[in-house]
Amino acid sequence: MNWDWQYSGDILPDLLDGLRYTVIATLVGYVIALILGLVWTLLRRTPSRAFNQVIRWITEFIRSTPLIPQLYFVFFVLPAWGITIGSLTAGIITLGIHYSTYTAEVYRAGIADVPKGQWEACTALNLPRSRVWLDVILPQAIRRVIPTLGNYLIAMFKDSPMLLAINVAELLFTAYQVGSKSLQFLEPITIVGLLFVVVSVISSILVRRLERRYATN
């Protein structure tokens, strides 16, 4: 097996195009995961025990089923019920929802970590519920979990190739495509690996920076 530099150069633009979809899917999915995860966490803290348990088991179910069946379900089964969405949209939504159940746990731990005295000070100052959460608890809780949330960004990025199961033209999908045309897989797959490393390393540096910024004061 010989490395063909000419061939590598030819396929690179296609692969970078695939990377673009991978990055878009990851970032938009991540935003969904961050917001929806917080929604899950807050819904689990309502006064109604029954409601909290329902939410708990819904998230537990999503978290304990693999991503690929979920992708199939959203992309192939929902249209049968009259909901048709594009493959990229379906992939982004599924990735976001799947990871929101993980971020929900992260938020939960962050909130549990806020000292009891902070809640007591809120009561002593008579702060209304909304202010307790928005001004005191969440800012402190989220700051504590920034490193963990950052790790999930990288984990999501590395899970995004699973979107090829529903034909999203992301990086790995593109690599298979160009490979099957020329029957040379070594170069595209190696480049895929390298691109993943490059993007992951850059993201983890950014996450580390964010972490350092919020760790002080």
Binding site: E120, A121, T123, A124, L125, N126, D135
Partner: protein
Amino acid sequence: MPPTDTTPENPAPKDSEGGATPADAAAGKDVATEKGVSTQKGGTPEDEPAAELPHGEAPGIRFEKVVKRFGSNVVLRELDFTVAPGERVTLIGPSGSGKTTILRLLMTLETLDEGLIWIGDETLWHMDRGGKRVPANQKHLHEMRKQVGMVFQQFNLFPNMNVLRNLTEGPVRVLGVPKDEAVERAKGLLDLVGLADKENAHPTQLSGGQQQRVAIARSLAMQPRVLLLDEVTSALDPELVVGVQDLLRDIARQSDLTMLCVTHEMTFAKDISNRVLMFDQGQIVEEGPPDQIFGEPSEQRTRDFLQAVLAS
């Protein structure tokens, strides 16, 4: 029956001098020589700091057969006691005797099991509905809490806000004070506690003593009528204790807040309070003016406790 009257017929004018509060009589000679934290900066009129402090309408407090349990552990057993409007009472006793629980019940940080707690002529944990006394809802608790402020052993400042925001958060969000006015008052209070230059600092950048003084200012910013002090100097380095105590003495002198204070600092208790209650096992063992309790306690339990505290 309402235990105490709130004497609204004598609302002290806002700018009046701290004047003849009961604390003066009790603390008298001790406080006269103390001049700890500067309360009067150049240019401000003599009575300016007093304007920052709540005046008038301090309610009394009464506990009526109050029972509090934690699981099978009975912390307060049918406790009865009364605090007069504007009175300063210090609660002493061994740990686990229930004194902190009393403050936490008044701040609604613990729920009441049995009995009644009166603040002024209203019950804290119960409200009136169609002539019947029913457990209080959140709205009632919210209204009642407006009268009460608390300073904690661990300060509990909000670390995600700067000092000024710590002081304006409550007034703006709860009392609906306009932002500018809240900032002005917060600055006045920071001046009062001697930290006017720290308004932009974050709590983590302050020493324990400074944090506690900010916490005191924060509780005063809510204009409470009752101030609860829960071992406010216990978490401080020894050399920082005096500054906080001096500040509290000044506040006691210049306001007419009803104050309940849990402390192990006997000199401070002597200075600040009109009356001392000695607790053991959820009951009052002995009570009286500080001179009597610390000077010639009549109960053996009190003597043992004071000896243990002095030995430490």
